[in-house]
């Protein structure tokens, strides 16, 4: 690791400009999606979708198709498959984990069949923000617009269906359809984010900024704004650091996100408990006087 005196010039190169734009688009999308991932308690699914994308990427290399297409097809397909499994969280977690493992195995198989060089596989697993092409930028732009507009339209019923599914259903909210729509949006977000921070580090961009924001405030608008700001800061600071020491940006992007989260966690460690309430669960005091009917 050596400090690059000319890091300001490095930042102005075409690949750095692409990285800045592409990374920013992903940060906006991931920051917004993160809020819903957390309210839906879907963090594991987000993590799994990234792994499910892995065979998509290596498979695309095997058949000579664009990597983004392979990622998108596998992420959306995998998301719908996970969505098919039971509503119960435990059931869903097991199904998700199993599909995740199979997908990763498939990815390894495709990678060896494609005799892809090690760096291609590394790019999928760990991301390479510096390899983003002009074409990919257009695609990212399209995905970002699609996800942001769709989220804006469904945000309110989606929050209702996420925090309060039984009441939402009774109130006529299409809970299942929203779940499917959400998983497709998540798959598109993951497709982009994998190319920035890679399969293995994706969590730090899709969940961590939103988690930090939610520690600080619960006002929905503020959470969204802070989450996007944290994600953007992670990408920007990460890229600058990467240019300074001439190392791949993934590590730095993730480190900034984790650092922000850690600082927020320390700052808010006293928050979140009602006075006198136990750390977990609510009151379960036993009625002392009235005898039960039964």
């Amino acid at each position: 690791m050596r400090f690059q005196e000319n890091w300001l010039q490095i930042l102005q190169t075409t690949f750095m400009q692409h990285a800045l734009v592409g990374g920013s688009l992903v940060a906006v999308t991931a920051g917004l999606m993160g809020y819903f991932v957390i309210t839906r308690q879907n963090a594991f699914a987000a993590h799994a979708l990234a792994h499910i994308g892995f065979p998509g990427a290596t498979g695309a290399i095997l058949v000579g198709a664009p990597v983004t297409l392979g990622l998108a097809v596998f992420c959306v397909g995998g998301g719908l498959l996970i969505g098919l499994f039971g509503k119960r969280v435990a059931e869903r977690e097991i199904a998700t984990g199993t599909i995740l493992a199979f997908a990763t195995g498939l990815g390894v198989l495709f990678a060896s069949l494609a005799t892809a060089n090690a760096s291609t596989t590394t790019n999928v697993l760990f991301g390479n923000l510096l390899a983003i092409s002009q074409d990919q930028l257009w695609l990212f732009g399209g995905f970002t617009v699609l996800v942001v507009v769709a989220l804006a339209v469904i945000a309110r019923p989606l929050v209702f269906a996420s925090v309060d599914p039984a009441v939402a259903e009774a109130r006529g909210v299409p809970v299942r359809a929203l779940g499917v729509a959400f998983v497709v949006l998540l798959a598109l977000t993951v497709t982009m984010a994998v190319q920035v921070v890679g399969t293995l580090l994706l969590f730090a961009l899709v969940v961590t900024p939103a988690a930090a924001a939610l520690r600080l405030t619960a006002r929905p608008g503020m959470v969204a704004a802070l989450s996007v700001a944290f994600a953007l800061a992670s990408v920007w600071v990460g890229l600058v650091l990467s240019a300074m020491v001439d190392l791949p940006p993934s590590f730095f992007v993730v480190s900034v996100a984790v650092l922000v989260w850690g600082v927020v966690l320390v700052l808010t460690r006293d928050r979140g408990r009602a006075p006198g309430t136990p750390a977990r669960g609510g009151h379960t005091a036993v009625p002392a006087v009235a005898e039960r009917v039964r």
């Binding site: 809020y35 957390i38 309210t39 308690q41 804006a152 339209v153 469904i154 945000a155 309110r156 019923p157 929050v159 209702f160 925090v163 309060d164 039984a166 009441v167 939402a168 259903e169 009774a170 109130r171 006529g172 909210v173 939610l214 619960a218 006002r219 929905p220 959470v223 979140g272 408990r273 009602a274 006198g276 309430t277 609510g282 009151h283 379960t284 005091a285 036993v286 009625p287 002392a288 006087v289 009235a290 005898e291 039960r292 009917v293 039964r294």
Partner: protein, 264 residues
């Protein structure tokens, strides 16, 4: 007569009418031959042993479950999902609520949560949310996260969400579960107040009648596989309750006229 849609005016349809209704779930008949009428403005305890189909009755009324036979009418019309005249608080409702939502936001969802599209909440909507929070006595913690509230506070907020859209019928599934004695008495007092303020019909699923007795006017009880309706005084009898729960139940009337039930 004021001519409003609320209250037991002659034009007001009953809150719930079952006519020969049977309900099947997963191939099993939950209950059948349900014929009863719950009058508008009543405060109704829905009682019966575990698994008798109390929650199922609510799901029928909400249009979440079809009847296998018979006819059902809610507030004068067949049940349909998304009927905004019904406020609903499911069982174990508050257990699932996470850190991400404030009391105020949750109540707001009861008003606009079903709407798609980008729009800011209007002043009128915010005023209605504030009003609902105030009516249940939850205004002091409106800005707090649901996960930070005690069980009793969460239940109040849940009821605020159910009434924020001016429901004519409230369906509360075990609202007193997991509450200590003081909290459950406060919720019962609140139900009485809600009913006095505007003649809303309240149906409450409860496994313990005692805390609710001061406010109940009627009961729907699930006995021997059929739902029945009667005024509360006819239901709180030793014969019926003993039969209902399959264990000896005694009814005690205090000098003040309060009713209590005791097992054994």
């Amino acid at each position: 007569m004021t001519g409003t849609a609320h209250g037991s005016t002659p034009e007001t349809p009953p809150a719930l009418v079952l006519d020969g209704v049977s309900v099947v779930r997963g191939g099993r008949t939950v209950w059948d031959e349900g014929t009863l009428t719950v009058p508008a403005g009543a405060v109704v305890g829905v009682i019966g042993p575990n698994g008798a189909g109390k929650t199922t009755l609510f799901q029928l009324a909400l249009g979440l479950l079809p009847v296998a036979a018979g006819r059902i009418e809610v507030l004068g019309a067949p049940p349909r999902r998304g009927d905004r005249r019904i406020g609903y608080v499911p069982q174990n409702y508050t257990a699932a609520l996470g850190e991400a939502v404030r009391a105020r936001d949750l109540v707001g969802l009861g008003l606009t949560g079903h709407r798609f599209g980008v729009r800011r909440s209007t002043l009128d909507e915010r005023a209605r949310v504030d009003d609902a929070l105030r009516r249940v006595g939850a205004a002091a913690y409106a800005e707090r996260r649901m996960s930070e509230l005690s069980g009793g506070q969460q239940q109040r907020v849940a009821i605020a969400q159910a009434i924020v859209d001016d429901a004519d019928l409230l369906l509360l599934d075990e609202p007193l579960a997991n509450l200590d004695l003081r909290n459950s008495q406060e919720i019962v007092t609140l139900l009485g107040e809600l009913r006095r303020e505007r003649a809303v019909t309240i149906m409450v699923v409860a496994h313990d009648l005692n805390p609710l007795l001061p406010v109940l006017t009627d009961a729907v009880y699930l006995l021997d596989g059929h739902p029945h309706h009667d005024v509360i005084g006819e239901v709180v009898t030793e014969e019926l309750l003993t039969h209902l729960y399959g264990t000896r139940v005694r009814v005690v009337r205090t000098a003040q006229g309060d009713l209590f039930t005791r097992s054994g």
